[in-house]
Amino acid sequence: MTEVLAADGRPLKASLNRALRRQKLRALALIAPLLIFILVSFVMPIADMLFRSVENEIVSDTLPRTVKALEGWDSSSGEAPGEAVFNALYTDMALATEYKSHTRLGSRLNYELTGVSSLFRKSGRRVKRFDTDVYADAFRDADPAYADPGQWAAWMSDDTVRAAVPVTAATYDAWAKMIVEVDNDDPAKEEPWDFVYTALYNEAVAGASLPVAVDVSGVEPVSLRDQFVEVDKDWLDIDVWQTIKIYAPKYTNGYFLNSVDLLKGPDGAEARPESERIYVVLFIRTMIMSLSIMGMCVLLGYPIAWLLANLRDRTANLLMILVLLPFWTSLLVRTSAWKVLLQQQGVINDVLVWIGLVADDGRLQLINNQTGTIIAMTHILLPFMILPLYSVMKTIPPSYLRAAKSLGATDWTAFWRVYFPQSVPGIGAGCILVFILSIGYYITPELVGGTKGVFISNRIAYHISSSLNWGLAAALGSILLAVVLLLYWVYDKIVGIDNVKLGG
């Protein structure tokens, strides 16, 4: 079989493939800006948000030695950890204070246990003034080499010394790194801080051979446990240590447990006390109210869309402007307008009292509750229902209805059997739009929802902007996203997603 050749003598098939490939690449290059834009501005932030809901590196980054030392501590022993853990905490805390990360960790752990924030802040302030300076003095008095920064640097680059006092070497490295990064100084010109001498002392007592032999047996040991307890006796509180231990791993399911009203305990998930349960209620409420808002939008939007699609063009255009005008008005203005209308001394109540429908002392409570949220949100989201409905209805030929009637159908049968089924794709599209928009709304519920009319998104907003508990906000957001996807899947199973039309 002979191969078909192209004009340049190459096989036609290869030549065609090449041309095709080139075209594809060119097409890719053309959409590349958009692709990159979507990746950078849409996919990555969402991935980052999902990741934040499990990420928990701050504990092991800030207190690496303490976390390691805590591995040997049994939280069920009923006793706070011993000297070794406090030794590790001392080094970690002294370093963290310089990096100013201790207060940050304090705020993080304070989400889990009240009081940790001030415990860390207080301890950070005091940790530099601990009594461990006696160790440093003892070494420096015993041999001036210990007061010489250059000598220290030389020792710490000598492998035999490092092997003899490994903990001191590691502590010195961390200190040197901090001196360079935070103070912009040269460690070879700075005398090591107390916590380096403390590490050296501990190793000397344990029998390590020092670079220059010094007898430290005469130095009175300083209990770091006592030093910390002196700052705050909460350091003896088992709960503090348990919290640190529970949140030591780099990844945690704690945020997710919190967002379904559970608690991460030493043996896994525990129920939260009833006085703190809120999120499950809010999730359910958000779903129910969003469904009600969606239902209201269908009920109100369907007739309007029908009118828009079937009236004469001039009238329909006027109506369309009436639909769009509020759509273009600021959200806050519209919400505030509802306040003026709905409040007890507001326009609607005034009118009702004036025509005698309600008594003056029995004015209706229309705002600062669920009614207020549903009314205001229905109004705000109505255009998202009307517009897709309208564009679908516009494509239904009026002759179908006439045909149905001429074949003997009543008005109702003609509508229900002929017209309605053809408008279902518009209802589907409108419902999805309205539902998804409403579960994410928080400004309107915050302003008119009172206590019972707020959504889960209000708590997400609070944790993002006020408490800075972004991990919990991310977990709540992830759950919300999962619920939406689940509902979308259910919708696809029942109605079919191909059956959704935004127009034409």
Partner: protein, 368 residues
């Protein structure tokens, strides 16, 4: 293909050009973040305008203080802080300082001395609640009531909030535990200096919630400072808590039939922070601005435009008349002896610890 290339080249050029232009503008501009409204206006008049005139620096206002903490953290994570000076309340300043998002200030070397010669640290005194915080004003959360709706005996003390028999009708309180929990305990017989000790215990918290339960159905919970003034003006509530400056403008500027309770007003502070991680040049400019804007005269000037007390002791004697209304401002300051007969001190350190926990409980209580 050619067209695409040209397009891409043009857009690249435009981008670089606009970036260069932005850089050029940066040189003599600073972005100051504040709360907006009447408050920003008072700062514009008292600080920004004289500073711009003196130095030629152009000040851009950004009204994002309500979300300042979150936005600063996001900017910090993105490595691009676009703000130079930020106005925040003291509790937010503490949080920002804890998170390492604000720079630490040494008042004595970086701020102006008082005009009576006192050191800045003495002049501000206890109001320096965080290493990063430069106090500006003292404001208070207090209660205003409709004079025409409270009957013959006007309320004189804070517990009127809880007295629905004597003062029937709705009241508005802030949708957060701070202040409400303290007032509830005060009105449930807890001594003023024992409030936080009681509130630390489970029983104390239950006690405060039980007290709040007695008026739960009569409360409209507000979340924006403008809510209570609007509710009072419309007669929707008989009394409600809000910031004293808001009540001042409701009473004196809008002439509404409202009066202030002042009893057990809770002092709070508002001031500046400078974001951490600015370039040395921007940091120097921010410090220069802050030093100017918090000197004795400038702080006193601000009270011409809004009813908040200057944070410096040395500014108090300089407080004069309102710029437009011409009334003496001193009697409207929360710190005026007549108003400050019974005040409550907000415990920042305590709330920094308990805020997360109590807020969760408060929200759970609200939703029940």
């Amino acid at each position: 293909m050619k067209t695409t290339l040209k397009l891409m080249a043009t857009s690249c050029l435009t981008l670089t050009a606009s970036m260069a232009l932005a850089d050029g503008h940066m040189a003599n501009e600073m972005t100051i973040v504040s709360w907006g409204g009447a408050y920003s206006n008072s700062q514009q008049k008292a600080y920004h305008e004289p500073y711009m005139e003196n130095t030629g620096v152009n000040i851009i206002n950004d009204e994002s203080s309500a979300e300042a903490v979150a936005k600063l953290r996001a900017m910090n994570e993105a490595g691009n802080v676009t703000w130079d000076v930020v106005d925040v309340v003291a509790s937010d300043a503490i949080r920002l300082c804890d998170e390492g998002l604000a720079m630490e200030i040494d008042p004595d070397t970086q701020l102006a001395d008082g005009d009576d010669g006192s050191k800045a640290s003495d002049d501000f005194g206890d109001l320096l609640v965080s290493e990063c915080f430069i106090p500006q004003i003292v404001y208070s959360t207090t209660v205003g009531y409709r004079t025409d709706l409270v009957g013959d005996t006007a309320p004189t003390e804070i517990c009127a909030i809880f007295d629905t028999d004597a003062y029937p009708g709705k009241r508005s309180l802030e949708k957060r535990p701070i202040n409400n929990m303290e007032w509830a305990l005060l009105c449930d017989g807890v001594a003023k200096d024992a409030v936080y000790d009681v509130l630390e215990t489970e029983e104390g918290q239950a006690q405060a919630f039980a007290k709040l339960d007695t008026i739960k159905d009569d409360v409209i919970w507000w979340s924006a400072g403008a809510d209570t003034p609007q509710l009072l003006a419309d007669g929707e509530v008989v009394m409600g808590s809000t910031y004293n400056g808001r009540l001042f403008s409701l009473i004196e500027e809008q002439k509404q039939p409202v009066a202030m309770l002042w009893d057990a007003q809770v002092f709070d502070l508002d001031g500046w922070i400078i974001p951490a991680g600015l370039t040395p040049e921007r940091e120097a400019r921010a410090l220069d601005y802050v030093k100017f804007a918090t000197d004795t005269q400038r702080l006193a000037d601000q009270s011409k435009y809004i009813a908040y007390g200057p944070a410096r002791a040395s500014s108090a004697p300089l407080v004069g008349k309102h710029a437009d209304l011409g009334i003496e401002m001193a009697p409207h300051m929360p710190t005026d002896p007549n108003n400050a007969k019974n005040t409550f001190l907000y415990n920042y350190e305590w709330w920094a610890d308990y805020r997360d926990d109590l807020d969760a409980k408060f929200q759970a209580w609200l939703s029940k």
